[in-house]
């Protein structure tokens, strides 16, 4: 058909003309929410600080004079010393605390990011499918979630560690595999209310397949609660990782994480306070900021405004 009548070129021209005509961009709900978020001072400042922490954690190590596993035999257990380049002091093995805090922050951020992505992906798809199909499928899928909830996750992680050895990747998977349960429940609840809306019925009446309805109509409308819950999951995961590392199930030496650093610093806080202060300040700042961002997002995305 193309070429013979020149229909395609005519149509393309017309379409281009329509495109350049004056089709002003609409204001999407997401843009609305971002505008509201940008008016929230606490959230904006928090986003700035989190971005700063991320940048410093990943770029900083290139500018620090000491490596995170490098031992300085001349200064062991020393307070901050600017001449030698130990800005945060050194630990009992003579390693530079600043380098270790940067590395630990990096590790904690990676764990948080990967585990959040894993939990959001699994949770959203699982919850949306369960909620949309309902009935027996829903009952079965949600009972499985209940069973998983009943498993103590420390036990779950210990079993994983025993079976596959200590491995940071395993830690990501372990934490992600626990965190998606709550996400799935939240998403299922939302899906139950969304699927009763008329636009879902309209899509079904015009012949859309269940999977297309879930992906095109339900998941985009879940973005509010999912984004809010995800930002609140990140601090939870960082704490969980810290806890596991504290128990010695997490990251392995000489690598470190914020949790490991704090657990090493806590017993000596009275004699070597700099070992606790550095990582603790970073962790607390990070958690506070993420909570403020989550709060700001909740206000910005609140559907009651519409």
């Amino acid at each position: 058909m193309p070429g013979l009548t020149g229909k395609d070129t005519v149509l393309t021209d017309y379409a281009n003309k329509l495109a350049v005509l004056d089709a002003p961009k609409g204001r999407s709900l997401t843009q609305d929410a971002l505008r509201r978020l940008s008016k929230n001072k606490a959230a904006v400042v928090s986003i700035g600080i989190v971005v700063l922490i991320i940048l410093v954690a990943f770029i900083g190590p290139f500018f620090v004079p000491w490596g995170y596993s490098e031992v300085d035999w001349t200064s062991i257990r020393k307070p901050p010393d600017f001449d030698k380049g130990h800005y945060f002091g050194t630990d009992q093995n003579g390693r530079d605390m600043l380098a270790r805090v940067l590395q630990g922050t990096q590790m904690s951020l990676i764990v948080a990011a990967v585990a959040t992505v894993v939990s959001v992906t699994i949770g959203v798809i699982y919850g949306a499918v369960s909620g949309y199909f309902g009935g027996r499928v829903d009952a079965l899928m949600m009972r499985f979630v209940d069973v998983m909830y009943a498993l103590p996750y420390i036990l779950f992680v210990i079993i994983l560690v025993v079976m596959f050895g200590r491995n940071p990747v395993l830690l990501f998977v372990g934490i992600g595999a626990i965190e998606w349960l709550t996400m799935a429940r939240i998403v299922r609840g939302q899906t139950l209310s969304i699927k009763e809306k008329e636009f879902i019925e309209a899509a079904r009446a015009s012949g859309a397949k269940p999977f297309a309805i879930i992906m095109r109509h339900i998941v985009p409308n879940l973005s509010g609660p999912v984004v809010i819950y995800a930002t609140l999951t990140i601090p939870e995961i960082i704490i969980a990782e810290s806890f596991l590392s504290y128990l010695g199930l997490g990251v392995q030496e000489p690598q470190t994480s914020l949790g490991t650093l704090i657990s090493a610093g806590a017993p000596v806080a009275e004699v070597l306070p700099w070992m606790l202060l550095g990582p603790a300040v970073v962790l607390v700042t990070l958690l506070l900021c993420l909570t403020y961002i989550g709060d700001g997002l909740r206000d910005a995305l609140d559907p009651k405004d519409r």
């Binding site: 005509l21 089709a23 008329e198 009446a205 012949g207 859309a208």
Partner: protein
């Protein structure tokens, strides 16, 4: 338009829809709610059949059973010679292309995360996946013009439109696959009076132009009288009266139809006063009969 000896495009015979509702509790028994009880009617090409009745009388359930969004428990609905209950998934897809729906709540029937253009184009993507992006854009633009929207509104989101405009988007979405039948489920009930007249007239113009059939569901017999050639009155899931619009509204046979017509207000206080008496008389008669 007489619907004489032609073959109907939709033939519904003794259609029933039942819901099972649990009475709650561990030992509670199950109840069966019969929403639609043995409804039969024919619908011809280019014709408008109005379905009226109070809320909860099974109008919407009936329409959903016709397009198999709900399973019918008995009877049959035959679309162009094929029983809808027995269609396979390909035939069902064809059916969904031929029968489109317009919904009651203009805003709720549009996905808030999609632009007007995407919403109107969606049935095209489902039913004609092999037409190009350019042609799709052109068809959407043409359809928007046809229903009285500016093509430059293509990138706007539903919340940026008024109720009447949203309903026009819904109409454009229903029309874009060139359907043979459109089911308007309380399509104008949520609009205010002046917008309602505009949308009803738009539907009538489009029908004249495209020769589609309409199944116009409403609780408002005044609107139905205006748009429909034939009217079917439903009461508790049963057809109490069906016939030419003139005859049903001017000379109703069933008591329920009489009461329904008497409930329509007339903008004249004197006439309204007399009609109030008439309504009271009808109510008393109904109470006596019951």
């Amino acid at each position: 338009m007489s619907a004489g000896e032609r073959e109907p495009i939709l033939r519904v015979r003794d259609l029933s829809v039942e819901f099972t509702i649990g009475s709650g509790g561990l030992f509670g028994g199950k109840k069966i709610l019969r929403a639609v009880k043995g409804v039969s009617f024919d619908l011809y090409q280019g014709e408008t059949l109005g379905i009226v009745g109070e809320s909860g009388c099974g109008k919407s359930t009936l329409s959903r059973a016709i397009i198999r969004l709900l399973p019918a428990t008995a009877g049959e609905a035959v679309w162009l010679g094929r029983d809808i209950q027995k269609m396979n998934s390909n035939e069902l897809l064809d059916l969904r292309k031929d029968i489109q729906m317009i919904f009651q709540d203009p805003l709720a029937s549009l996905n808030p995360r999609m632009t007007a253009g995407d919403i109107i184009a969606e049935p095209l993507k489902i039913h004609m996946p092999n037409i190009g992006k350019a042609e799709r854009a052109v068809r959407v633009a043409e359809m928007m013009q046809k229903v009285g929207l500016l093509p430059s509104m293509i990138n706007k989101y539903p919340h940026e439109f008024s109720g009447g405009q949203c309903q026009r988007i819904g109409i454009a979405r229903a029309l874009i696959t060139n359907p043979k039948l459109i089911i308007c489920d309380e399509a104008v009930s949520a609009l205010d009076v002046s917008i309602r007249a505009q949308v009803v007239n738009l539907l009538m113009d489009l029908q004249k132009e495209l020769g589609i059939s309409l199944l116009f569901i409403s609780h408002d017999i005044a609107v139905v009288r205006h748009i429909a050639q034939r009217i079917m009155v439903l009461y508790f899931g049963e057809v109490v009266e069906i016939g030419e619009a003139e005859q049903v509204t001017m000379d109703p046979h069933h008591d329920y139809t009489k009461r329904l017509i008497a409930s329509v207000p007339v903008p004249d206080p004197k006439v309204e006063m007399e009609r109030r008496e008439e309504r009271r008389r009808l109510r008393r008669a109904a109470a006596k009969a019951a």
